[in-house]
Symmetry: C2
Subunit: 333 residues, 2 copies
């Protein structure tokens, strides 16, 4: 079976998230623990800005959990930059043993799963799972530096300047949010080569992971209050719903896409929605966890999605494979 259920009580003690001006102005602005309107976070380069944002987010999550960084046994994190330097430079001064993970924009899912596995194995007491993305670094990494002023097609998404971090530990199975199960994803490639249409590239991977999760546990979509994809945007979300219907699952009532939630796509000029590791990470660690805390939602299937491309693979004419990792979260009374 591709999925597994945790037998221990793996609790998300708290989450924290940060962002820039666009994220502060968006519908989830009130959920940010910190933000910087300039997106610079006092960094001298955009890469340093992303590193500083990630570090701030992790420190904020640790503080909200009432912990010190010495109490964090291990840290799982990753980002979109080549060789994941946003993470390496961001977390090095924290001096917590670190596992670098990469799942493109699905990284928050991967880091949550692996942090939970470490707790399930009883090899740690307290673990942080985190990720980040930054509009300015991502444009430079995947497209062009901002000063080129290049244009984007309507199906393109806007990389979120944001970071999310969750503090996980063993709980007593009551009064909190628990990671109860996971479905690590397979890589799915429908042969799409349009790197401006990430939603279409990633939707088939989300379909595979969600359908597998529901089948593995014999669930119907209404078991969950929300089935949350990462950053499919308007185009990818439509494909997701269509393809899942063909598989026999209608999730149109439960579906929510972080990329469509973090921005107001009518009034903010983001084209097809938000994207980037930070998109799902901010939405989860701010909006979703708080709604669960407040009793609005009890069961969430969190399915961030990643597009596994690089500028080199794109320039060589390769397709854009996708991956999606599912994490089942439950509020326990």
């Amino acid at each position: 079976m591709q999925s597994f259920r945790f037998s221990q009580q793996i609790q998300i003690r708290t989450g924290a998230c940060t962002g820039g001006a666009m994220e502060k102005d968006g519908p989830l602005g009130a959920y940010l623990d910190a933000y910087d309107e300039t997106g610079k976070f006092d960094g001298e380069t955009w890469e340093e800005s992303e590193s500083r944002m990630l570090k701030k987010t992790i420190e904020c999550a640790i503080e909200k959990a009432g912990k010190t960084k010495q109490e964090i046994d291990y840290l799982f994190c990753g980002d979109l930059l080549r060789q994941m330097t946003a993470s390496s430079f961001g977390v090095k001064s924290l001096q917590i043993p670190v596992f670098g993970v990469y799942g493109a924009c699905s990284t928050m899912g991967e880091s949550l799963i692996l942090a939970s596995v470490l707790l399930e194995a009883g090899l740690a007491e307290c673990v942080v799972a985190a990720t980040s993305s930054h509009f300015a670094t991502a444009e430079k990494e995947f497209r062009f530096p901002l000063s080129y002023g290049n244009q984007r097609p309507p199906c393109a998404t806007w990389t979120v300047t944001g970071s999310g971090a969750a503090v996980l530990e063993r709980g007593d199975g009551t009064n909190g949010i628990y990671v109860v199960a996971a479905t690590p994803g397979k890589i799915v490639d429908y042969g799409i080569t349009d790197k401006a249409n990430m939603g279409a590239c990633m939707a088939p991977a989300a379909v595979s992971t969600i359908a597998t999760h529901l089948k593995d546990f014999g669930l119907s979509p209404d078991y969950y209050d929300k089935i949350v994809t990462g950053d499919l945007g308007a185009v990818g979300s439509e494909i997701l719903l269509d393809l899942l219907k063909a598989e026999g699952y209608d999730i149109s009532k439960q579906h929510m896409d972080c990329g469509m939630t973090i921005y107001d796509t009518k009034f903010q000029d983001v084209h097809s929605g938000g994207s980037g590791c930070g998109c799902a990470a901010v939405t989860l660690n701010g909006y979703i966890l708080q709604n669960m805390q407040e009793g609005k939602w009890k069961r969430i299937l969190f399915v961030p999605t990643g597009a596994l491309l690089s500028t080199v693979s794109s320039n060589e004419g390769d397709s854009v494979p996708g991956i999606a990792h599912a994490v089942a979260l439950e509020w326990k009374e």
Copy 2:
């Protein structure tokens, strides 16, 4: 405690490794399960070549373990390329759920640790840990395309064209090689900015992880038959021994560096030795595992080392932080 000990019997069922002409001609050539003198593995681009080499290695390891790919529950892998496309494109057709991991050249250590943790938690039956590097893709990614013919200083190392994969499952605690403990690394940064001198950048991280491992378990270096670093090369190895002596540990008798082992540094023009994820991966999954099988070594501390830089971080004047993950392997009768 930064280290942990596994309570379950996590067995490395088998390992496989592949390489190119330099690796075949080197001292460990006889241990390669497959090789391609051209380094192309029938790929049309160097990136595709690396992907095909990685896939071949994983398939070879699975076959040697007497398994089918359907019996592999999860796969941990990563490489040096931006956004880890060598891994994504290499493993996508295997259709095994995949966790992308990044620790630069320490990746074989990270993938081994996380695969073992998943088995320790009882969430999988059989897991593969793998990684790869390729001279031609790494030169292009970090320095210049091969056709530029750029020169390298004597302290530079030669990126191994090679891949290693290990198949892990629960064993009965006898007659095999077991993963018994691990020390995940912290990021260590001594402020060195010379990206041609990776050994010096990574040595302090290896010192930190090895000293912590020995302290955590109250061991002296002679507990191990070999303490194996990844790719410090001639320059980094000297720094390692000096710094560890200052910490009170003399590992000069036990120390072996994969970068100094995989090539004949006298007769092969590799300057300071071999490097890259493939360096430690090939040495472990070929030479080391076979020597353990044959009873020559009983206890190995495998400590691959990674330099967490990118061309962007280097060009922006950043230092090169290092990381090293330690995995303790034991032959059990």
